[in-house]
Amino acid sequence: MNNKDLLNLIDITVSFEGFLALNKLNLNLKKGELRAVIGPNGAGKTTFLDVITGKVKPTNGDVIFKGKSLVGRKEHKIARLGVGRKFQSPRIFENLTVKENLEISVTTPKSPLNLINKSIKDEQLNEIDRLMKIVNLAQKVDSKAGSLSHGQKQWLEIAMLVGQKPDLMLVDEPVAGLTDEETDLTADLLKSLSGENTVVVIDHDMEFIRRLDSNVSVLNQGTVLCEGTMETIQKDKKVIDVYLGRPED
């Protein structure tokens, strides 16, 4: 652990009635880093995000974010500290318009009084315009989010994540169900976000991970099996055994 790190997971163990979803997991992220996390089904990838965002309380261990422990904090407090999350299947508010979805994400402070009293600030409206251009949804501003295509929903959720201005973005399977072209665009988008933001991407799609050109952590049975660049992990014997050699698993 050093003070350049944005996030440290220290010996995280999560036990669901005896089943160890995470087993002494250690992981450190530097500020501005882009990190891919891969692993076979059941390796604990989503639980790993649940622990950081406060959805699941670890049985053991600690999560340090910007020098503060996140364990025991409520989800919305963790989000306000600067942890944003994109879910596996797109989770957007389908009955609201694209613009309303983005308003919810960019609004600060997120208190009822602010929401009911004041109209949205100009700089937040500008931010919404900027986000809609980035994800190519400018023409869909007033459409119900539920009417968007699957790919557009994925991007809207990414835009909502960016709009939250989190220091740490946790992105769970952003390219599931996207076309190749959309996948490439998403990879470029995530790469452009890193540097200023710290981004963790979880995915199965090896082509997509390769395109991210980042450090990769391989999770297996709730613990980090191996870390390094794509080349390093592809040569790693243990990784080949549990994952790359048997992609159907």
């Binding site: 965002t53 959805k55 409520k74 989800e75 919305h76 989000a79 306000r80 944003g84 999350r85 879910f87 989770r91 957007i92 508010f93 389908e94 009955n95 609201l96 318009t97 309303e100 308003e103 919810i104 994400s105 609004t107 997120k110 208190s111 009822p112 929401l115 009911i116 109209s119 949205i120 007033d142 459409s143 119900k144 009417s147 909502m160 939250q164």
Partner: protein
């Protein structure tokens, strides 16, 4: 497309408003005072329905206990009227106390000697009780059907408590208001009842504007977000507990105002306001009128209750079957309620079924944009 849709919606809503306001203005001259009084009562019920729509239609909280807050408002109003009209009774306290040997006004009724206090208590007390119950429930993340059961259980607790307190609130007999005095006039008199009708009509419209103000913009969007995907709202940095507590408390306050208006127009408040069926009926009004439409809640409350009294006069004992049938119809055929059905594609689809209108083909959005220029 959405621009046209909004205009289309507005037209429907506007025409319903015109009908409603025309009815309200015409009613005092057209209706005999008995009918006018009934209409006034049903209009006051539409205020509690607005609250139900806010918590259920917008926020997804199905409360079966709104009768608690409705009755609290009613008791506040009735007790004030009883206290101010008690000068000729022993000890200058309401008559019923004498029956149970109470000689001094219970301490918590003391502030109700003041009209200003009562005026505020009618909505603040129910709102506070709702806020407290709501906060405890929401903080523990009790949701969905468990929330509904809990609100119904609270209702039964209040019902039994109020039933048993003869010495404080005249127990199961309730508090009568029609023979009390207000501004030197009998509350049950025709001129007072006419005045209450106007006050009610004004407050219904004011309550609608207030509810509209609450749900417009980002606050309302968060409520819809909580209804559709609460964890997502949480992970975006909002605390749903506070939002739910606020809206539940607002609905409680509206229920209190509604209960007070209903009490002065029906002449009595009693624990019957807290029976289980009555609180479920409130939900039915909103379901039939149209969830999440606000206007639908008002129309549902007024028309169902008016139909109830007309049907009950003509065919006694048949109303329960009609009400049950209505609810089944809405659940199976009109899940969005009548107003929701009209605002959606209901009438068009019905015409299509009878072959009176051309069908929309596979990609409605394309077709509508290019040819029809109508709603989605």
């Amino acid at each position: 497309m959405s621009f046209i849709k909004i205009k289309f919606d507005k037209k429907i809503v506007l025409s319903f408003w015109i009908i409603l306001i025309a009815l309200i203005i015409a009613a005092p001259t057209l209706l005999p005072v008995f009918r006018l009084n009934l209409l006034g009562r049903y209009l006051s019920l539409s205020i509690v329905a607005l609250g139900v729509d806010l918590i259920w239609g917008y926020t997804g909280l199905l409360s079966l206990g709104q009768g608690i807050f409705f009755a609290l408002g009613g008791y506040c109003a009735a007790m004030y009227l009883q206290i101010t009209s008690s000068s000729e009774f022993p000890n200058n306290i309401p008559e019923f106390f004498a029956l149970y040997g109470v000689e001094k006004l219970p301490f918590f009724w003391e502030p109700f000697k003041s009209p200003i206090f009562t005026f505020c208590a009618i909505w603040i007390i129910p709102a506070l009780v709702a806020g407290l119950i709501g906060f405890l429930v929401f903080r523990n993340r009790i949701k969905g059907v468990y929330f509904s059961i809990l609100t119904q259980a609270s209702l039964l607790v209040f019902f039994n408590f109020f039933n048993g307190q003869q010495k404080l609130i005249n127990g199961t007999n309730g508090l009568k208001t029609d023979v009390t005095q207000l501004f030197g006039q009998m509350v049950g008199s025709e001129s007072m009842q006419r005045m209450f009708f106007w006050i009610t009509a004004f407050l219904v419209i004011a309550a609608w504007f207030f509810a509209k103000w609450v749900v417009k913009g980002r606050f309302g969007n968060i409520l819809i977000g909580i209804r559709d995907d609460e964890p997502r709202v949480r992970f975006t940095g909002y605390n749903p507990v506070i939002f739910k507590t606020i809206i539940f408390s607002i609905a409680g306050g509206l229920a209190g105002i509604s209960g007070a208006l209903y009490t002065v127009q029906s002449g009595i408040v009693s624990p019957q306001f807290m029976t289980v069926p009555f609180s479920i009926e409130m939900v039915i009004w909103v379901a039939v009128g149209g969830r999440g439409t606000l206007l639908g809640a008002i129309l549902g409350a007024v028309f169902i209750n008016y139909a109830k009294s007309l049907v009950s006069e003509a065919l006694p004992a048949s109303w329960m079957f009609i009400q049950g049938g209505l609810f089944i119809l809405v659940v199976t055929a009109l899940p969005e309620g009548v107003l929701g059905w009209i605002q959606g594609d209901g009438p068009r689809n019905l015409l299509q079924r009878f072959g009176l209108k051309r069908k929309i083909e596979t990609y409605p959005s394309l077709e509508i944009n290019n040819k029809e220029g109508n709603n989605e």
